[in-house]
Amino acid sequence: MAEQREFFNRRLHSLLGVVPIGIFLTQHLIVNHFAVYGEESFNTAAGFMGSLPFVLLLEIFIIYLPILYHAILGVYIAFTASYNTKKFGFFRNWMFALQRITGLITLVFIVWHVWETRVQIGLGRAEADYSLMEGILTNQFMFWFYIVGVISAVFHFANGLWSFLVSWGITQTPKSQKIASYACIIVFFAISYLGVRTLIQFAFGV
C-alpha cells in the first residue's frame, strides 16, 4: 500500500467526507432543529448528545480527527486545481469549482464555530445551551456568517455525496449520475432547510 499512498489517501478522504463527517453534519443539524420546538426541547436534545457515553472519544474519532484529515488534504486538493469555468462553463465544472470554494469557506466557518462553542464550553466559559447560541446569533453579522457557513457546509456535503458515488464506482452510467444529481439537490435543500430554520429560531425567536 505504500506505493499507492496517494490512491489510499484520496479514497479515505472521499469516505470520511460521508462516513462519519456527512452523517455527523446531518445529525448535528437535526438535533439543533429541536430549538424550533422551544428552548427546553433544545436543551434536552443537546443535553442528551452531551451525556452520551465516551463522549470525548466519540468527538475525537468521529468528529475532530476525520474533519482534520479531510480539511488538510482538502485544502491541498483545492489549491492544486487550475479552475477553468470561464473557458468551459459546463454544469459539472461549476460544481467542481464550487465544491472546492465551499470547502474552504466551510473550513473557516468550522474553525470559528468550534472556537466559539466547543472550546469555550471546554474552558468552562460557556454552557452548551439555547442561550449560548441565542447570544451569538442575535448579532446581525454573526447570523449571516452562520447562514453562509451552514449553506456552504451542506452544499459541500450534498455535492460531495454525488462525487462519492462516482469515486466509489457506484454510479457509472450518465443516466445514473444524472438521477444522483437530482437526489443530491433534494438532500441539499432538505438539510439546508433544517440548518437555516434553526438559525432563524435562535436569531429571531420565531
Binding site: 496517494e6 490512491f7 492544486t80 487550475s82 460544481m95 469515486s167 466509489w168 464506482g169
Partner: protein, 254 residues
C-alpha cells in the same frame, strides 16, 4: 476582377521552448471549403504577416488530415480541437490559433504530448501476446461488449481532454482522462483481461485515477464522443475492488 477575399488569422507564436510567446496576424487568401490547416499552408507558402513584413513560416503538427491521428490539436477560437476538422466557413473571424496550454510548446503551435504516451505506459495500455511459441487464437468477445469497447478504441491521444481538465496542470501529477479510459478498453478485451490487475495497479499509482475530481469537462470536449466519465467511474469501481482484494487477500487478485 473582384478583389481577393482574405481571412485573418491571429496566431500565438513562440520561437523556441523557452522563449516568450507573441501574437502575429496574417491575412490569408480565402478559398471555398478551406480548413485551418489549408490556411496554415498558405502562410507557409507566403510567410508575410498582416503588416506586410516578411516573417518565419508558422510551425504546426499534422499527419492524417482526417481527425483520426490527433496530431493537429490546437486551441481554435478558445476551443481545443483538431485543426484538420475545423472548417474556416464555420468559424468566427478573426480566427485565433493558440497551442494547447497543458503541454510544453516546442515551437509555435507544435506541442509535446509525450506525457500522454508515458501515461499509456503507466497503465500498460497494450495486450502482451509475444512469446516463444504460437499461443493459438484468443477467446472470443461478446458482440455487445465489442460495441462499447469499439467506442473507447476511437481515442487518438489528441490531448483535448487533458487541455479541458482542471486537474491536469503543473501543480498536479494527474495523468488525465485518456489513459484511464484506455485501461478500461484493454481490460475489456478477452485476452487483455488476463493482465487486468497490472493495469489497475497502474491506475492506482501516483498521478493515477485518484487525481480525477469529476469536473467531467473531458466527456464534453472529446472530439470522438468517447464516454470518458463512464470509463472513469468503471475504473473507480475496478480499482476499489482491486484494493480490497490486495488488502484482504483473494485468489482472484492476479
Amino acid at each position: 476582377m473582384a478583389e481577393q477575399k482574405t481571412v485573418r488569422f491571429i496566431i500565438t507564436r513562440q520561437d523556441s521552448p523557452d522563449s516568450t510567446p507573441y501574437d502575429e496576424a496574417f491575412d490569408v487568401p480565402y478559398r471555398k471549403n478551406m480548413n485551418v490547416i489549408s490556411g496554415l499552408m498558405e502562410i507557409r507558402k507566403n510567410p508575410i504577416n498582416a503588416k506586410g513584413e516578411k516573417t518565419t513560416p508558422v510551425q504546426w503538427d499534422m499527419n492524417c488530415l482526417e481527425e483520426v491521428c490527433g496530431a493537429c490539436s490546437m486551441v481554435i477560437n478558445g476551443t481545443p480541437r483538431q485543426s484538420c476538422a475545423a472548417l474556416v466557413d464555420t468559424l468566427e473571424t478573426p480566427i485565433r490559433l493558440e497551442p494547447m496550454s497543458t503541454f510544453p510548446v516546442i515551437r509555435d503551435l507544435i506541442i509535446d504530448r509525450e506525457r500522454m504516451f508515458d501515461a499509456l505506459k503507466q497503465v500498460k495500455a497494450w495486450i502482451p501476446i509475444d512469446g516463444t511459441h504460437d499461443l493459438g487464437p484468443g477467446p472470443r468477445m461478446p458482440e455487445k461488449k465489442r460495441q462499447w469497447a469499439y467506442e473507447l478504441s476511437k481515442c487518438m491521444t489528441c490531448g483535448v481532454c487533458l487541455e479541458a481538465c482542471p486537474n491536469v496542470n503543473d501543480k498536479s501529477n494527474f495523468i488525465g482522462p485518456a489513459a484511464l479510459s484506455q485501461a478500461r478498453l484493454f481490460n475489456s478485451h478477452p485476452t487483455g483481461e488476463m493482465n487486468a490487475s497490472e493495469r489497475l495497479e497502474g491506475l492506482m499509482d501516483e498521478g493515477g485515477i485518484s487525481g480525477c475530481g469529476n469536473s467531467q469537462n473531458c466527456v464534453q470536449v472529446c472530439p470522438k464522443g468517447i464516454p470518458l466519465t463512464t470509463s472513469i467511474a468503471a475504473m473507480n469501481r475496478a480499482t476499489n475492488i482491486q484494493a480490497f482484494k490486495n488488502f484482504f487477500g483473494s485468489d482472484n487478485a492476479h
